[in-house]
Amino acid sequence: MRNMESSEQVITVRNVVKTYPAGGHGRHARPEVQALRDVSLSVHRGEIFGIIGENGAGKSTLSECMTGLQTCSSGTISVLGMNPADTSASSRRALLNKTGIQLQQTKFPDKIRVWEMCSLYEGLYEKPAPYAELLDKFGLLQKRNMPVAALSGGQKQRLSVVLALIPQPEVLFLDELTTGLDPKARHAVWDVIKSLQQGGMTILLTSHFMDEVEYLCTRIAVMKQGRICAEGTPSSLMEEHHSKNLEDLFLLYMAKENEDKSINKFGDEE
């Protein structure tokens, strides 16, 4: 396999803290939450970098801070040399024309057709990819005239990846890439993602599926309660801890981190 990774840092995250302030009243009151605690990492050009962790570990918050959907409370983030927290229209446009973003939950207007959604996205970017080709790659070309509401959950998920690829991004953010896909579709999507990496695309993947991360990612960061507790290649981390697969390693990290805390078997603090 051709290795397209380079030492050029495409994403840098330095000492990022994200705090959600306390809010609400009465029974809707919620305490202050520290979602990210002094997080630092770098992603190099051509990598598929995976972020794994339990529910509420801060994976999506970190990914959203990198895309500018959220702003961090302190620390700095740079994506392709740009600051995603810069809200000026020209900066947002410049960054978002070079990044593709697949959100964890993607909703579409019910009555829109597949091709109309793609055509709309095509109109939003400076150098859009031909969407028919992308639909074909993700097995949706035959569904292009269907209303989005009539697609299955897995097909909607694939459509959200197609939309993220329309800008022909240098950096692709994928949040829970294959949720809702059957095993055959998952493998087909993985192959497309691998081919994108081989074409030089940098990909940041947030996932709960350890087999997916093990198969796709060149490096990973393990997150636990807003902190990165391990970072490296999947093989080096597994070797270091004598784990036979990434799932074992993940469970080991979670158990280790939970030793001093009152955490139940579902990963919730009690």
Partner: protein, 239 residues
């Protein structure tokens, strides 16, 4: 150039969605034209001139109280505004495009109602320029209230309840479907609490070419309501 393409892409997509949804066609175009014919057959020509102004306002009411707040609340609920934040498109453009489309439908509705009034029932608007100005002013006022509701409501259910509470009483009591003069005195007094009543009375005076004693006050109060509603909407708006 790219902004232009984005606007065009968004405009054509939203237009298709609005037409497929069908509500604006039924409540904004078919019902006003049908009401115009019904009232035209029931009342005298003099009364019809004043009633025509109210009927022309049905589309403003439908889009302002039902269309705009529901679109805002639905887009927020579905996370569609947030999703557009992940693209180079400013989500604010989505709201601008939707508002432009609602206004286009309202103007089409007004044109059709006016054609029916003029060609079928021979209604003549005495002050057409003033009528057009007040009509556009009414759109500005009622849409400010729609934006106000859309910005404040926590969810789509609350939005529907608040919109319904404003829409149907306004539709019945504000001189849009039932001529204001035909209402019993008690109901006319009750109707005065609805901004649409004052908007319709201003429009009726423009159609008849008269200036009522309270027109300036009505105009000033409606303008103040609009300014306050837009200011609050911008202040509390959430994507």
């Amino acid at each position: 150039m790219r902004n232009n393409n984005a606007f065009k892409a968004l405009f054509s997509t939203e237009l298709k969605l609005i037409i497929r949804d069908g509500n604006i066609i039924i409540f904004g175009i078919i019902i006003p034209v049908a009401v115009m014919f019904v009232i035209g057959l029931l009342v005298s020509k003099e009364e019809l001139t004043a009633s025509y102004a109210g009927v022309a306002g049905i589309a403003v009411l439908a889009t302002g109280f039902m269309g705009i707040p529901a679109t805002l609340a639905q887009y927020r609920h579905d996370g569609i505004l947030r999703q557009f934040k992940a693209t180079p498109l400013n989500p604010f453009m989505l709201l601008v495009v939707d508002t432009i489309l609602e206004v286009v439908f309202v103007l089409v509705s007004c044109a059709l109602v006016s054609c029916a009034a003029y060609f079928v029932f021979h209604v003549h608007v005495v002050s057409p320029v003033r009528f057009i100005f007040i009509y556009l002013f009414n759109i500005f006022v009622i849409y400010s209230m729609g934006n106000f509701i859309g910005a404040l409501v926590p969810d789509i259910q609350t939005c529907n309840s608040v919109s319904t509470l404003l829409y149907f009483p306004s539709l019945i009591l504000s001189g849009t479907t039932i001529p204001f003069a035909m209402l019993p005195r008690a109901l006319r007094i009750t109707a005065e609490i609805f901004p649409m009543t004052h908007a319709n009375l201003l429009l009726a005076d423009a159609a008849l070419g008269i200036t009522g004693p309270y027109d300036i006050i009505r105009f000033s109060v409606l303008a103040a309501v609009a300014v306050i509603c837009y200011a609050v909407s911008v202040k509390v708006f959430r994507w």
